[in-house]
Each structure stands twice: as structure tokens, then as C-alpha cells.
């Protein structure tokens, strides 16, 4: 430790700290623009100049390392003169028109000019003007205001992993811009808006819509990816105006993904439902809540009377709150049906009867930064988990080795140690190679149940490399991404990574798909009663239909799995593994109740539409992928006649004369779910009772589909966020294939082709991606134009027009 003195205060700091760090430790504020705790030191704004005893001139606090006995003054005559001088320089070219600037009121330059500048300007000459740049639909520019702190440039290089912005020119001609005519397309781009200390980069959707002091700030939690980013939702006139990050070092640090930041536009979408609707003799009519709920209860009772309780199925989106999901499963179970699930995009449920607990990340999110070796299986990591990808990027920078087994070869903007890109059907083989390799290296036999699976397997160089990496670099971890979770071999992949983990000591887990995936599983939105499990686990777990069965997987075309469906925040024609079958079975059902915030295509197949609140209009809880329980309050009052889903389900429970539906608040429900936090978290367990690998020698079809969920199509809210829908990531769907496959079919890149899957076909343009395996077509799902096709993986045909 090094002892120094700042403004007369003694402080001991670690070697290598800067004066800025030391000042922070004793609570002394040193003005700054370019310095940011998460970014590298640039020392180019010169605002943090301080006086250091025996130094001939003022030194920048952010770039001056401490040394023993150093005496620093931040308010001495020399320091103040320096700061005043720097401020005068900064304001020479900066427009002094705060009243018309969107940053006004929350501008660091404005604040520091008041605190450290003069009251007037001596500058008489012409100011320079800089042309604005088009950075895309999310970031608006006013480049004349830029003070060249380069925070945005460093953010791209260091955090987002891709340098999209740079500073061109020199001296007075310096400008922040993108390479000739490009836009900023990173999925983390919105963070530069927060980083910009002036009004040069501001939010395009929010621009000129409100002043910072008119907004009330309310805490919330992001409903999108499994990370559970902490939010500050800013509200004016009962309308969500924008969303900013709430710092939480253990979760999102000080960042937000663009999805979390800009999805709020979907909350104010014109597609929002505001009044209950019922279908009476084929005609839609709006009605009051009482009538709608009575109609719903009646409909459910009719179906039960006709076909029995087993004919009702419920599907809840894992983007719903814990309380809503809990009441949905309670309602179903009290009605006598175990047909309930949230895993709508999963296709392989074989692990259900052998899982020991709720699948989760397997470690704490913060621990990801400390990992030394990471193996990721089947993931569009940057798009599905933007901030987790960022953490992994930082871990790699600290020396971790990252390996990937994936059907796609997208750039993760970080260094990869080993990479195996194979068709989905060959992924299991690639994972088993790693398993065989770790067993050989450690000389530990593979457990008997799965030993036969690896017998015929040849270990490739990269598999051996991955194995070595997991063994030699500890702590290590293996994660299954969304592609793996949707994969038709999910249970096999899971067994294989558990076996790898048992041999290497690596942690293993799944990257939670939705904000409340862990929560949904924990409260029993699965086909068995998690909370009252009987001794005969296998039997009790077979008691209900899973999401796949309810949505038509393994059910013949003519029949429907259930006669009635209750859907919570779900658009099954987009949110399911086989969108074609899902639409069919839902359409065929006799009675469909849809609780949703958006109208979408619901009138096509539902019989009752109950408008329920999105996360901003209800209190609730999300349990993120690491098992962190995060509750939040509603930030605005419900739109129109919209009601929180927990209230709707409560009344429905009462109308159906079920017991235990008398709650006064969501907190009461939460207390019933989580009586003891420790106990709740103890249910998180990735282990399977027995390892089993079944389909290890299965052949893939001639051409396979790789169907991922595009980042801005993943849930109903984000689908309706207009600005996000204008980004590059939300571009109209396109098919991709390797040039080898295109050559074989005699197709030119860019040509429109016919794509056929399970007797449905669509026509769209195809493009080359030589990072794909040869026998695959990458074609995103969850898109209205594509949802006519079937399963996310499996056989697909490509034909020249």
C-alpha cells in the first residue's frame, strides 16, 4: 500500500492506483470528461489537472500513478487556474446554447462549466462547425458539441469489442466518425449515449421528447434476456419516455444492451390492447372485465365438462413475472391439469424425468469474469446475451481461453482458442469428442451409461485442445446457449457436458433464455408439480404435457393436443419450436384464452383476449439466470382497461371457485412462493440423475436448417420497438448458406430461392456465409415472414427458382 495525501487527507491505496482512484476513495471529486472507470485512460481532456507537490506543472489525476508521500491538492491556486484554463479551451468551440441542446440539464460539460468555468466567454472569433453523422436509428449526433474525449471510441474498442467509431483528422480538424458511411451496429451501441459527457451523441428515439428534470425516475428490471439488467425507467405523464441503466456491478455493471435500452418503445406501441374482447358467435366484441372473465370461466368449465381437465393446456412466456407464472400454474393444477410449460422453443424434453433441479447458469454472473477457460455450446452469444458476451470478452482479455462448438461462425469480437463449426446434427459428436478427450487426458473412465456413445468417436485436434484448456485452466466452465437448448439433442448435449464437468471439475450450466426462465421453472411452470413432488419422480413428472406436446410436436397433423389453451404473454405463431405446427394446433383448439399486452394475430385464433400489463405496469419479480431474485414495482399505471396478469388470474381463480386465490398484493403471492430465499435458491441444480445419450449415431439430413431467434424478434415487447426494428439486426430475413452449397445447387448469391420445409415453402433471397457448415441453411425463426415454415432445426430443402 502507498500512503499519499490529498487535500490534507491521508489515504492508503494499492500500488499502481492513480491519483483519481485515491481521490475517489476519500470522497474527493476531481472534475473529468475523458476518464471513465470501465475504460482505458486517455488523459486527453485535461480537465482533471491537479497540483502535485514538487511537480513542475499540474498533472492529470486520471493518468498520474501514486507514489509514496505524494501530496496532491485539487483546489490549490495552481489546480484551480489549470481547471479554469482547460474549461475555457473546451468551451471555445463548444456551442453555448444549452437551452436548445437535448443534453441540457444532464450534461457534464454544463455542470462542470458552472462549477469550474468563468461566468462569461472571452472568445470572439468564429467557432468551428462539424457536420453531423448518420450513426443509425438509435444514436443521434450533434457533432459540433463534441469535445473529443474519445470515450465512445474506447467503448467500441474495449467493451463492445468492435471499433466502429474513430477520431479522424488532427488538431482542430479532429472529428468523431464511422468509417466512410457506415452506421454503428453493435448490440451495445446505446451505451455511448450514456458515456458521451456532452450532447454530441444522444438517443434518437428520445430526442426532444422531454427534459431530464420533467422525468421521474423509477427502478425496474429488464424483461428480456436472462441477465436481468437493472433499469431506471424514466416517466413523464404516465408514459415511459426512456430507459437507462441502474448500476449493479454483479449484474449489468453500468451497461445496458440496446434491447434493454430501447425496447420501451414497444410499451407505447399502437398494437397495445386496452380493453377485454370476447368472440361471441364468431364476432369479436369488446366488453367489460366482469363479462370477459365470466365468459372465460364458462368456456374453461365447458371444456372440462366435455373433455375433462386433462384437455386444458397452459403456456406462459418466461418473460412474465414470477407471480403471474406461479398463479397460472396454480390455476391449472387446481383445475386438475398438469399441462403447463414455459419452454416453448425447446424440442427435446427427455431430461425432464431425470433433472435434479432448476437449470441455471451454474455460477454467479460476476464469476464469469474470473473464469480462465470457457466452452460455449450452441449459442448466438452476442445477440442472445449481449452483456454476458461482454463479460466473457473481458475474461478473455484477462487471459481466459474461449472455445466454441456452434453451427454458426459469427464473430464474437474476441479471441477464440478453439472453434468447431459443424451442422446441428453433428454438434453432439463434437461435444462427445471433447468428453472422450478429457477422459483420456485425465485417465478417468467415462461413466458406463454413456461410455458406448463415445466408443466410435475420433477426437479432432480442436476437441483435444478444448479438453486441455478446460483441464489446465481453472476455474473453467461449460455453457449451453440458446441454440443448444432448442436443439433436438438437448438432453444428450446436457448429459455430455455434465460428464465433461464431472471429469474436469469445470462448472456447467445453461445461459438463461428469458428474463424469468429460472423463475418460471422454479415456480412449477413445467408439466410436474415442482413444489409437491411425489416419491415416484419419473411417474409424477410424466403427469402433464410439455410445451412441445402442447404445441403439436409428436402429435399427428389431424389432432390437437389440447382442446383449450390459456396463453400468457405468448404469440405461439412466433414463439415456438415448430411455428407451423403451433399455429395449427392453436387454431384447431376449441377454446383459447390469451392474456397479452398486444393484439398481434391473437384475434385469428383466440376466443377471449384479456389485456394484461407489461412489466412497467405491474409489480413483480424476475429470477435471473444466476438465481438472483429481483422484484420491482410498476412504474406507470396500466394503459386503458389493462390489468396486471396476477390480478386477472386471481379473479379467474375465484370465478372458477378454486381455493387459495385470495391475494391482496403481488407481494403476498411472492411471499407464498419464496418463504425462504436460501431454500428457493437451493433448488437450482443442473445435475441429472443418470447420464444418458441416445441419438449419438444419428445422421443428419442432406441439408439442415439452423434457425436462431433474431435479437429483436425474441419477445412481444421488442418486436414492437420501432427504432430497434430499423436496425441492421432487424433487417428483413434472409437465408444464408456456404458458397459450396450454393455452387452445388447452381445458385448465385443474392438470388431469390425457394425454401421448402415440411411441405411449406417460402421464397426469399439467399446470401453467402462461408463460416457456415457446408450442408446447412441459416434461416432465422420468429419472423412473421418465415413462421409458415416448421421446426428450428432439421431437414430443409433449397431449390432454384
Amino acid at each position: 500500500m502507498i500512503n499519499i495525501e490529498i487535500d490534507g487527507k491521508q489515504v492508503a491505496v494499492a500500488q499502481g492506483s492513480t491519483v483519481m482512484d485515491a481521490a475517489k476513495q476519500v470522497g474527493i471529486y476531481i472534475p473529468h470528461f475523458c476518464y471513465h472507470k470501465k475504460l482505458s485512460i486517455a488523459a486527453n481532456c485535461r480537465m482533471c489537472l491537479v497540483e502535485v507537490e514538487k511537480a513542475p506543472k499540474p498533472l492529470p489525476a486520471c493518468a498520474t500513478p501514486v507514489s509514496e508521500g505524494m501530496k496532491v491538492s485539487t483546489h490549490s491556486q495552481q489546480a484551480v487556474t489549470a481547471q479554469k484554463g482547460v474549461m475555457e479551451f473546451l468551451l471555445i468551440n463548444h456551442p453555448l446554447d444549452c437551452p436548445i441542446c437535448d443534453q441540457g440539464g444532464e450534461c457534464q460539460l454544463q455542470d462542470l462549466a458552472v462549477g469550474y468555468g468563468s461566468s462569461g466567454s472571452r472568445y470572439q472569433e468564429a467557432k468551428r462547425a462539424v457536420t453531423n453523422k448518420n450513426l443509425g436509428p438509435l444514436i443521434s449526433t450533434d457533432m459540433t458539441r463534441c469535445i473529443h474525449c474519445t470515450r465512445c471510441v474506447r467503448f467500441g474498442q474495449e467493451i463492445a469489442g468492435i471499433m466502429e467509431l474513430g477520431m479522424a483528422g488532427r488538431g482542430e480538424h479532429s472529428e468523431i466518425l464511422t468509417f466512410v458511411g457506415k452506421t454503428v451496429d453493435s448490440e451495445l451501441s446505446g451505451n455511448v449515449i450514456d458515456l458521451c459527457p456532452v450532447g454530441a451523441l444522444v438517443s434518437k428515439p428520445f430526442r426532444y421528447s422531454a427534459r431530464t428534470w420533467e422525468l421521474s425516475r423509477r427502478k425496474s428490471i429488464s424483461p428480456h434476456c436472462g441477465l436481468g439488467s437493472n433499469l431506471v425507467v424514466q416517466v413523464k405523464n404516465n408514459r415511459v419516455m426512456r430507459v437507462l441503466p441502474r448500476e449493479n456491478e454483479a449484474v449489468n455493471e453500468c451497461w445496458l444492451s440496446d434491447k434493454d435500452r430501447f425496447s420501451y418503445e414497444g410499451l407505447n406501441s399502437g398494437d397495445r390492447l386496452t380493453i377485454p374482447m370476447i368472440r361471441k358467435s364468431g364476432e369479436w366484441q369488446t366488453c367489460g372485465w366482469q363479462e370477459a372473465l365470466a365468459f372465460t370461466a364458462e368456456g374453461i368449465k365447458n371444456v372440462i365438462n366435455k373433455y375433462g381437465a386433462q384437455s386444458i393446456g397452459a403456456l406462459g412466456s418466461a418473460h412474465s413475472t414470477l407471480e403471474e407464472l406461479y398463479l397460472l400454474q396454480k390455476l391449472m393444477r387446481r383445475l386438475g391439469s398438469h399441462n403447463i410449460d414455459h419452454r416453448v422453443r425447446q424440442s427435446n424434453f427427455r431430461a425432464d424425468v431425470i433433472s435434479q433441479g432448476v437449470p441455471w447458469l451454474g455460477i454467479q454472473i460476476a464469476e464469469v469474469s474470473q473464469l480462465k477457460s470457457i466452452l460455449i455450446i450452441g449459442s448466438t452469444l452476442r445477440k442472445d446475451h449481449p452483456l454476458l458476451a461482454q463479460r466473457i470478452r473481458q475474461a478473455v482479455k484477462q487471459g481466459a481461453q474461449l472455445s466454441v462448438i456452434n453451427p454458426i461462425g459469427d464473430d464474437l469480437f474476441t479471441k477464440l482458442a478453439y472453434q468447431t463449426i459443424v451442422a446441428p446434427s453433428a454438434m453432439l459428436n463434437a461435444v462427445l469428442q471433447v468428453l472422450k478427450a478429457v477422459a483420456e487426458i485425465k485417465n478417468i473412465p467415462i461413466s458406463e451409461q454413456i461410455a458406448s456413445a463415445v466408443k466410435q468417436i475420433n477426437i479432432s485436434e480442436s476437441a483435444r485442445g478444448m479438453a486441455n484448456s478446460l483441464i489446465e485452466h481453472s476455474p473453467s466452465a461449460v455453457f449451453l446457449g440458446n441454440i443448444a437448448q432448442h436443439h433436438p439433442h438437448y438432453a444428450d448435449l446436457f448429459s455430455a457436458i455434465q460428464a465433461i464437468s464431472e471429469i474436469t471439475g469445470a462448472k456447467f450450466g445453461v445461459l438463461g433464455e428469458a428474463a424469468n426462465s429460472v423463475g418460471a421453472y422454479s415456480v412449477g411452470v413445467v408439466p410436474w408439480d415442482v413444489r409437491a413432488e411425489s416419491a415416484n419422480k419419473t411417474e409424477s413428472r410424466k403427469s402433464g404435457l410439455n410445451a412441445g406436446q402442447m404445441l403439436g410436436l409428436g402429435v399427428s397433423e389431424e389432432e390437437s393436443a389440447c382442446s383449450a389453451y390459456i396463453l400468457l404473454n405468448l404469440e405461439p405463431e412466433l414463439d415456438s419450436y415448430d411455428t407451423r405446427r403451433a399455429s395449427q394446433v392453436i387454431n384447431r383448439a376449441e377454446f383459447v384464452v390469451s392474456l397479452n399486452s398486444y393484439k398481434g394475430n391473437i384475434p385469428d385464433y383466440a376466443d377471449v383476449i384479456l389485456p394484461v400489463s407489461p412489466f412497467t405496469e405491474t409489480s413483480g419479480t424476475f429470477v435471473n439466470t444466476e438465481g438472483r431474485i429481483q422484484s420491482f414495482q410498476g412504474v406507470v399505471s396500466p394503459l386503458g382497461e389493462t390489468r396486471p396478469a396476477w390480478k386477472v388470474l386471481r379473479v379467474l381463480g375465484n370465478l372458477l371457485q378454486l381455493e387459495g386465490f385470495d391475494y391482496d398484493s403481488s407481494e403476498q403471492i411472492r411471499a407464498e412462493i419464496i418463504s425462504d430465499k436460501e431454500e428457493f435458491v437451493q433448488n437450482l441444480n443442473n445435475s441429472l440423475d443418470v447420464l444418458s445419450i441416445k441419438d449419438f449415431d444419428q445422421k443428419g439430413s442432406e441439408v439442415e436448417r439452423i434457425g436462431e431467434i433474431p435479437i429483436y424478434q425474441a419477445d412481444p415487447i421488442v418486436r414492437r420497438a420501432i427504432s430497434l426494428q430499423k436496425t441492421h439486426d432487424a433487417a428483413p430475413p434472409m437465408a444464408f448458406a456456404s458458397s459450396a452449397l450454393l455452387n452445388k445447387a447452381g445458385i448465385l448469391a443474392g438470388e431469390t430461392v425457394r425454401i421448402n420445409q415440411q411441405n411449406e415453402e417460402i421464397q426469399l433471397a439467399i446470401s453467402v456465409d462461408d463460416n457456415l457448415p457446408d450442408d446447412c441453411i441459416r434461416l432465422a425463426c420468429a419472423h412473421p415472414q418465415i413462421s409458415r415454415l416448421g421446426t428450428m432445426f432439421g431437414e430443409i430443402k433449397l431449390e432454384k427458382l
Binding site: I162, M163, E164, L165, G166, M167, A168, G169, R170, L177, T178, F179, V180, K182
Partner: protein
């Protein structure tokens, strides 16, 4: 990316520059690579910079930063001869302003302009580290001309016009 963007010889030269740095620090060769590309193409088009970014495995915008920082790099097509006159203080005190005025008059162009015959482009330069020879000017970034009085300029222009 089109590998025919630069000639084999130029690529060989760039490879020689790359070899001077550790294998994972390819981008250290960016300045030489840009200079080699410019020698061949005469100026640096967006596609050329894009190519170099790809070749050195660095972001295109980082190449652009370097190319815009130094004014020896031409981001627009120029005349056959680029005359860069230093106008920094020591040269200015030794009469570089007159040098510039004479050149402007003689060629009939201003700074950053090219003569109609496509022969000369006039540029304003920064200190070239030869203040003892002031005023100095640089022909095509490579040839330094000292003590550029009006006579000397006449001589130089005559020579170049041949």
C-alpha cells in the same frame, strides 16, 4: 475482398513491413502499408483503406484515423506532382509565405487544388525537420527541396514539366 487491389510487388513490400513486428501486432505496419499502397495507386480510396484494414486484420476506422491524421496521405486523387510547402514558423520567418504566393500565382491554383493539366497539386505542410534549409518544400512526399526562392521554384517547375 479483392486480392488484386494491390500488385504482388506491393503486397510483398507490405509483408516485409509486417514481418518487422510480432505476429499478433500486424497493425503496427499500417503507416508503411498505406504509404506503399499510395505509391502504387497515387491516392488512398475508401476501398484501398478497407483492403489494408482487412489485410492487417484491424478495424477499417482505425486505418482511416491514421490516414486522416498525417497529411502525407492523399485521400483524394492528386496531380502527378504534389508540392507540399512548409508554412510553420521557421519557414515562414524565412519567407515561405512568399514561396507559397509565388507558387499559387505561377500555377494558378490554391492549396489543395490541382492544375488543369493534372500535373501539380499544392499542399500546405507542417515542419519537415529541416528548418536550417528554410523555406523547404516536398515533392511527392519523397524529394526535399531546400531554400525555395523564386529562382529555385522556376527551376524546379521547369524540371518537373519535362
Amino acid at each position: 475482398m479483392n486480392s488484386l487491389m494491390l500488385s504482388i510487388e506491393a503486397l510483398k513490400k507490405i509483408d516485409r513491413e509486417i514481418a518487422k513486428y510480432p505476429t499478433d501486432k500486424k497493425q503496427s505496419a499500417v503507416m508503411s502499408a498505406l504509404a506503399i499502397a499510395q505509391d502504387e495507386k497515387g491516392w488512398l480510396a475508401t476501398e484501398t483503406m478497407d483492403f489494408i484494414a482487412d489485410y492487417l486484420e484491424m478495424p477499417a476506422i482505425a486505418v482511416y484515423e491514421v490516414a486522416t491524421f498525417y497529411n502525407m496521405y492523399n485521400l483524394k486523387p492528386i496531380g502527378k506532382y504534389k508540392l507540399t510547402v512548409c508554412t510553420n514558423l521557421p519557414c515562414a520567418l524565412s519567407g515561405s509565405n512568399q514561396t507559397v504566393d509565388y507558387l499559387k500565382k505561377k500555377l494558378g491554383i490554391g492549396f489543395n487544388e490541382t492544375t488543369v493539366d493534372g500535373l501539380f497539386t499544392l499542399k500546405e505542410g507542417e515542419c519537415m525537420g529541416a528548418c536550417g534549409d528554410a523555406p523547404v518544400l516536398l515533392v511527392n512526399n519523397k524529394r526535399m527541396c531546400s531554400f525555395m526562392t523564386e529562382d529555385q521554384i522556376d527551376k524546379l517547375l521547369e524540371e518537373l514539366k519535362k
